[in-house]
């Protein structure tokens, strides 16, 4: 792919982010008029900011890649990512805002008046934040590799350095403007090329077999295999090979591969004829956003789908960078309106990645073989339109992708650094916030460089599952159940979140192997870990009735009463 446009586009996005972050406030809010100065952030602006912060690499690149590889089943991902806000709207948004809490540990302290629960919640915020940062860095690495052929780790390092510098220098002062800007940038970066791609698809005669199984090549296509893979063939496949297949070396030889499994060495060149079906590939070592446990879905699709739905529906409310944005809403009702607007904005955005996925199945099916299905979004403009137009659209998409990494990563870094500064590092002050920022970014960066090819959709899924099993019970029971006690909350978070964490850690470590019944259970833990978290929290709370914090009634009244009715609430 031509990088002469893409690199300036990425640089432009970074510079624009820094400029809006540093000067947005000065330009838009320097006034001598008090009326202008004390205008609060409207629900729509705040919603755009929340959406901008929320739409991450997994959304921008990952979903298209998943749809490309796995087909329409994967549409549950965008549905889940969006519907999480519905749950947030119904059960959490307004009371959370009225609680006056800025972060999740603040909420734990406000509700339960316990320093221990506060620290535990802080630990989970840091854990979820780090897990969520990891895929952002790896997505950046992948994007830069696709664009310029740079080594894997470079993109991650660039994003990490840029984000740390911006956040530590206080460059996110006008964070609402930056994130809202990032949302519209991301939407434009997907929408405009998508329109052109659909036009190109129309002029191509609007072929409709996108989701035919299996996908087929529409023209003769040469595929270079970068990582050794195993191809599974249902029927014999004619292919021209230069390289090593099943241990035998060929040079430009025309072969008829029989049905069965074939091992392709890295560096091999395969030429597929027009109309050939795309074989099913299994990778020996992961290395992209999409392979993930998608494979294990095929063993127990129903269970896996419900696990996914539960994790994404309930996990959204526990994402630390999303929660802090609700503080910007002036009151509970505004928080609710904001959430409704977020649903609209995110829903609109999520219409686009599946389009790329479907078009990718038509025009770039070989991406399932080369190991970078996530690159579909980046490659399609060049593939379908070509020329300068294709390059420019490709550059736009690349810029949008970097906006996705920057916004999510900076939001997460601020959230994690805030918790580290307040609850972990010894004393307070600006310098400590900088130290916290560096620490917040250093750990996931080191992890992403060290472990390299971690299946990234898993890390996102893990973050959602842990958040759903620890913070969802805390928030829902904390807001709606007056008999919650500090020991109950702590036990629930530890058992629910801890078991989810261990389950996916075990899966990542490759235990137990594919096919075992236990594997699906551990790979999609939300379905049992969320009820486990709730149950533990309820049972331990009921067992310790004496520990219900005094003043609970007052606290809950504050959570649920509209601000206008609130008079002196003594706690």
């Amino acid at each position: 792919m031509n990088s002469s446009y893409a690199v300036p586009a990425v640089a432009l996005v970074v510079v624009a982010t820094v400029l809006v972050g540093a000067f947005g406030l000065r330009i838009s809010r320097t006034t001598s008029d008090f009326y202008v100065a004390s205008r609060t952030v409207g629900p729509r602006l705040n919603a755009a900011a929340i959406s901008g912060e929320y739409l991450s690499a997994a959304s921008f690149l990952g979903i298209a890649g998943l749809v490309l590889v796995q087909g329409p089943d994967m549409l549950w991902y965008p549905v889940g990512y969006t519907a999480g806000y519905l749950v947030l709207l119904l059960f959490v948004a307004a009371p959370l805002r009225r609680s006056g809490a800025y972060t999740l540990p603040d909420f734990a302290e406000a509700r339960l008046a316990s320093q221990a629960v506060r620290r535990l919640a802080g630990a989970f915020v840091v854990g979820v934040g780090w897990l969520y940062l990891l895929p952002q860095l790896q997505g950046a690495g992948l994007t830069l590799t696709v664009l310029t052929g740079a080594p894997d780790w470079l993109g991650g390092v660039i994003v990490a350095v840029v984000v740390t510098a911006i956040v530590a220098a206080g460059g996110m002062r006008s964070i609402t403007f930056v994130q809202a800007f990032q949302y519209w940038l991301k939407l434009t970066a997907l929408l405009v090329p998508a329109l052109f791609l659909i036009l190109a698809w129309q002029s191509d005669g609007a072929p409709r077999h996108a989701f035919d199984e299996p996908a087929a090549f529409r023209e003769q296509r040469v595929v270079r295999v970068d990582d050794s893979i195993d191809l599974t063939l249902d029927r014999p496949l004619p292919v021209t090979v230069t390289g090593t297949v099943d241990g035998r070396t060929h040079t430009d030889t025309r072969l008829e591969l029989p049905a069965g499994t074939h091992h392709i060495e890295r560096g091999t060149r395969l030429t597929f004829a027009e109309g050939a079906t795309v074989p099913h590939a299994e990778r020996s070592g992961g290395g992209n956003l999409s392979t993930s446990q998608a494979e294990s879905r095929e063993e127990r699709p129903l269970y896996a789908t419900y696990g996914l739905i539960l994790a994404t529906f309930l996990g959204t409310m526990g994402l630390p960078h999303v929660v802090v944005r609700f503080y910007t809403s002036p009151h509970g009702v505004a928080a609710r309106r904001t959430t409704v607007a977020v649903l609209g904005l995110i829903g609109a955005f999520y219409l686009l990645p599946p389009v790329y996925g479907a078009l990718g199945r038509l025009y770039a099916p070989e991406l399932t073989l080369t190991g970078d299905p996530d690159a579909a979004v980046l490659l399609l403009p060049d593939r379908m339109i070509g020329g300068v137009g294709g390059d420019l659209l490709g550059a736009l998409v690349a810029g949008g992708a970097f906006a996705a990494f920057l916004s999510t990563a900076s939001g997460l870094t601020m959230a994690v650094a805030g918790v580290l500064t307040q609850d972990v590092l010894p004393s307070r002050g600006v310098r400590h916030f900088r130290l916290g920022t560096v620490l917040a970014m250093a750990v996931p960066l080191a992890a992403s460089v060290l472990v390299g090819g971690l299946p990234v959709a898993d890390a996102v899924g893990l973050a959602f599952a842990v958040s759903a099993s620890s913070f969802c019970p805390l928030l829902v029971l904390g807001i709606w159940w007056r008999r919650l006690t500090p020991p109950g909350a702590a036990a629930g978070m530890l058992v629910g979140g801890g078991s989810a964490l261990l389950a996916v850690a075990a899966t990542m470590a490759g235990y137990p192997g594919q096919g075992a019944a236990l594997h699906a259970l551990l790979a999609w833990p939300a379905l049992w870990s969320v009820p486990l978290g709730f149950l533990t929290m309820v049972l331990v709370s009921l067992a310790t009735p004496g520990r219900v914090p005094p003043g609970t009634a007052g606290v809950l009244a504050r959570f649920h009463l509209p601000e206008e009715l609130r008079t002196e609430v003594t706690t």
Binding site: V41, G286, V451, V504, R558
Partner: protein
């Protein structure tokens, strides 16, 4: 392989955290273990146990605090069961024989009335019950009996009576301290109540004089100013809630400046730069307005000789978990040494008690880290920085955000 490594990392993190936590908990006890003779060691142990039991009791005698200190107190006395009561009920029973709860309470009435310790035998049907004797030691604070400490043992023992009496006296001292803590909190609350809403009488006189001067020449303006004055005084005198939001405080400052501008006209200009993210931050009521008042005074005083212009800049920035409010003027400034003495209340300021009052309240609400930071020198203006945490337990604005 890399997946395995990642999984390992994730699995190791909680274990590490647990290790650090356990390490911290056990470190102190171990460092004492190898020290001194057995007698000294025993003394250390006793003092350590006593010091562990003290902090919960410092919060007063409740079910929660009794539960947290009872086990430590029992190990201090070395009895089979220990129970703490208030005047009406058993708060906690630590150890065997919890079925004696009701009986203890009945037999306790005398001791609670007289405030004198006693020992009595318990009646028990169950043969393997090790609790036969109860030693009662009342807990008294300022000659009032708050409750009792009951130590139970299999047989009568003069040593236990003596020890229980001593422990009860020690607990009483802790409770007295708790009483002191409480009255200190009440004092601080009273102080905050007294400190709040001190709008200066000068300001009221001046405002009324300015409004009077407009009544004939520009009645419409006078009416507007009167309304501003009403709004400002309503805000200042309101009785509900000790806290407000930054947005509301800014409105009060706006009303205040409108009145000041009416007096000084073009000589005063104000620039604002407020990050919308921090507008909902809750803060002690009327803690920024005195700072602005101070800036106006200094700004205009400095130019008193040659009536020039004064510029005031108010910025509020979003800084992670805090809001950073800066109020800056280009006026006369102040000698830092004098300022230090004013804040330490060693020197009385020329007019008003604004700065030290605000400083005290901020420190009381947010802790000593969050006092005013003032940069100034004679003739160099003054820059006051306030750091307001976005969340602080117990700080809730009494909501009045009806405006949209």
């Amino acid at each position: 392989m890399s997946g395995f490594l990642a999984g390992l990392c994730v699995a190791v993190l909680p274990v590490l955290a647990l290790g650090v936590w356990l390490g911290r908990r056990t470190a102190r006890a171990k460092s004492l273990a190898g020290l001194g003779t057995p007698v000294e060691h025993a003394t250390f142990e006793t003092l350590h146990t006593a010091s562990l039991a003290a902090p919960p009791l410092r919060a007063g005698l409740t079910e929660e605090t009794a539960r947290r200190s009872a086990r430590k107190l029992r190990s201090l006395l070395g009895t089979d069961a220990l129970c703490l009561t208030d005047r009406a009920q058993v708060l906690v029973w630590d150890g065997d024989g919890a079925h004696h709860r009701g009986e203890i309470m009945e037999r306790l009435a005398g001791a609670l009335d007289t405030g004198r310790g006693e020992a009595f035998q318990l009646t028990c049907d169950s043969l393997d019950c090790s609790v036969r004797w109860a030693v009662v030691a009342p807990l008294t604070v300022d000659d009032r009996v708050h409750g009792a400490l009951v130590a139970c043992a299999p047989r009568e023992s003069a040593v236990l009576v003596r020890a229980a009496g001593e422990v009860a006296r020690w607990v009483s001292v802790q409770l007295e301290l708790a009483d002191l803590d409480q009255s200190r909190t009440r004092l601080i609350e009273a102080e905050i109540k007294a400190l709040r809403a001190q709008i200066s009488p000068h300001f009221i006189f001046n405002s009324l004089a300015v409004i009077a001067s407009f009544v004939r020449t520009d009645p419409e303006r006078a009416r507007e100013l009167l309304l501003e004055f009403a709004d400002f005084t309503r805000y200042s005198f309101r009785r509900h809630g000790d806290f407000t939001t930054l947005a509301d405080e800014l409105h009060a400052i706006d009303h205040y400046l409108a009145l000041v501008r009416a007096r000084f006209g073009d000589r005063l200009s104000v620039t604002l730069q407020i990050a919308p993210e921090v507008l909902p931050v809750a803060l002690p009521f009327l803690c920024l307005q005195p700072l602005v008042e101070n800036a106006v005074k200094h700004g205009l005083e400095g130019k008193a000789v040659s009536p020039g212009k004064c510029h005031i800049q108010i910025t509020a920035q979003d800084a992670g978990a805090e809001a950073l409010v800066v109020i800056e003027d280009d006026g006369a400034g102040m000698d830092p040494e004098l300022l230090r003495r004013i804040l330490a209340r060693e020197a009385s300021p020329s007019g008003g008690i604004g700065l030290s009052n605000v400083d005290d309240r901020l420190r009381q609400v947010y802790g000593d880290d969050h006092g005013l930071v003032i940069e100034t020198a004679t003739g160099a203006g003054m820059k006051i920085t306030v750091r307001l945490p976005k969340y602080q337990p117990g700080v809730h604005s009494a909501g009045r955000l009806i405006r949209e």
